[in-house]
Symmetry: C2
Subunit: 342 residues, 2 copies
């Protein structure tokens, strides 16, 4: 199929030098005389030569590829992650090999996919919105492939994690709602297996209890738009309904708001306050203008990168567990504070 591959040998022949000279010219650069370098450059340009990264990896043991496992891009938090992470890695000369793990968080599936990633000899793996079995974690560790869990916590000490302060965020949201004078608090949960879901809920409950309140209603939305709609319907069609609801992430919060406004005719925040978590771009759009807790994607990506690079380059080996601060973003789905805010 056409495609005459041009190799370092071809360049060497044309330039009248040895193959190793060409190799050195491209890898270390300085270990070759100016004159020879010039000839090599000329020849390479003439032939359209570029080093074969794969062949190079075979010998260096570095593929300059990072595997990224992501469960679903439906939640607009993750496209941002993919974009920023890819870009940041590109700048470092790395590239992202993407794997989609279909049913969110099925460990078995993630394991299989991770195996496939390992087959590509990636230098590191980022699991976004997914967790893996300890067995596989051990395996990666044995292969010397560092793993970073992005936005998920897991106890395995071999795994690095980068999360924001989900517990604290949940708590701050509770404090906000309490300070606004709310009485009946609803919570719409994400997928129960996710650490983000558990931590946010725990923080929220803790925040409520700190001021003598407690959860009034709870439904599960599994991080999905349609399930969150159904959850909202259930929660708000009883005789008594919450006057404030924390939805475990923004993506589901939009679904809940849509049901409240357009199906049940409730006004936000007059009849009910809604708060989310993440601060994805649509949360800022006037149609929603959602009060939420911001997870800074850039910060999270930066820490992920740092963790990866430390493990890849440095002596590394010791996993890091980074927990980043986020902050409250008050918009229009909660009432203005009666008194000066906390």
């Amino acid at each position: 199929m056409a495609g005459e591959r041009v190799t370092s040998n071809d360049v060497a022949r044309l330039a009248g030098v040895s193959q190793s000279a060409v190799s050195r010219y491209y890898s270390t650069g300085n270990l070759v005389s100016t004159k020879a370098g010039e000839k090599i450059k000329q020849a390479a340009e003439q032939l359209g030569y570029r080093p074969n990264v794969l062949a190079r990896s075979l010998i260096t043991g570095r593929s300059r590829m990072i595997g990224l496992v992501v469960a679903y891009l439906e939640n607009y938090f993750y496209p941002e992650v993919v974009e920023r992470l890819s870009k940041a890695l590109q700048d470092q000369g790395y590239h992202v090999l993407v794997f989609i793990s279909s049913p969110a968080s099925v460990v078995e599936n993630v394991d299989q996919i991770t195996q496939e990633i390992l087959d590509y000899q990636v230098d590191g793996i980022v699991l976004a919105s997914a967790t893996m079995s300890s067995e596989l974690a051990a395996r990666c560790h044995a292969h010397g492939v560092p793993i970073v869990l992005f936005n998920r916590l897991q106890d395995d000490p071999r795994l690095s994690t980068v999360t924001s302060d989900n517990h604290g965020g949940g708590r701050k949201l509770a404090e906000l709602l309490v300070s606004l004078g709310h009485e009946r608090f609803g919570y719409i949960a994400g997928y129960e297996g996710a650490s983000t879901q558990r931590d946010r809920e725990a923080g929220f409950r803790e925040g409520l209890e700190a001021s003598g309140h407690r959860l009034f209603a709870r439904e599960v939305g599994n991080f999905r738009y349609d399930e969150a709609q159904a959850a909202a319907r259930r929660m708000f069609t009883g005789p008594e309904r919450p006057d404030a609801v924390f939805v475990c992430n923004d993506h589901m919060a939009f679904a809940v708001m849509d049901v409240l406004r357009y199906e049940l005719g409730l006004r936000i925040p007059d009849d009910v306050s809604v708060v989310g978590f993440d601060d994805v771009p649509p949360a800022r759009w006037p149609a929603y203008s959602l009060t939420t807790f911001r997870q800074d994607v850039d910060d999270m990506v930066a820490e992920t990168l740092r963790t990866l690079m430390e493990s890849v380059n440095g002596a590394g080996g010791v996993p890091r567990r980074v927990v980043l601060d986020g902050f409250l973003v008050q918009r229009a789905t909660t009432r203005r504070a009666p008194t000066s805010a906390t």
Copy 2:
């Protein structure tokens, strides 16, 4: 570091067979006796052996990787593309190497990035929302690497393209608005360098002119949310404003709607009708419930896949130019038709 790599040689030694036997077991499978196969399987499991895809690529000339260049994931059409395409390719044993080309559609940047992709010996390239120089197209062609332009048209005969009927879609939207009795038509353009922008606008104008109408106002939003907001402000703050506006894609349409409703206090569709293009998920959300022209991502991905696989496996070589039908999705941002619809 660590990471004792286990190779086919190790497996061969443990299983008491030759390295070639192990290789054959994993590649063709059947060219090895049942007994030997069993021993190899045992040994491989014991050692945790998996074939090195990179080493394999080196000799077969197939990396089973597809390069995907995407400019921005901010428009929620593209995350869907990434997800579906990755998944579909995964099912075929291929994997996606992602590249983000920062400033949308700067050809020079795409060229550089594509070069980097080629260094990884990918079996094919998908350019989503981007175009490349003819020179580079020629180069890829020479290397035998097929290219598919996704959602962009370009004249170069070496390039395959998969698009939906942008021209027809623009025309149908015009016909819809005309049939609803509108008189003053606005158009908010995307990035002028994009074929989708040009084709949609051309189709829209043609549809208007067919019934003796013409464009009343035009602004540019460059496919960005904030620029579309600004465009909407300019368009709707004059003495006379359009009574219908076609926004070149849904992503910008949301921005326009937000400005119309929440800044200018206009009612949709009573004061002004809004139509978009793409049918991304939020278009379906009640907050927007946008009338739009649907591009079916699944169909487009399927055709992309087919085009790639044909070129990779088959004799291939002849580029395909696929134009898929889309269809109108009428929701709540346009009035109900006075009479039976077209």
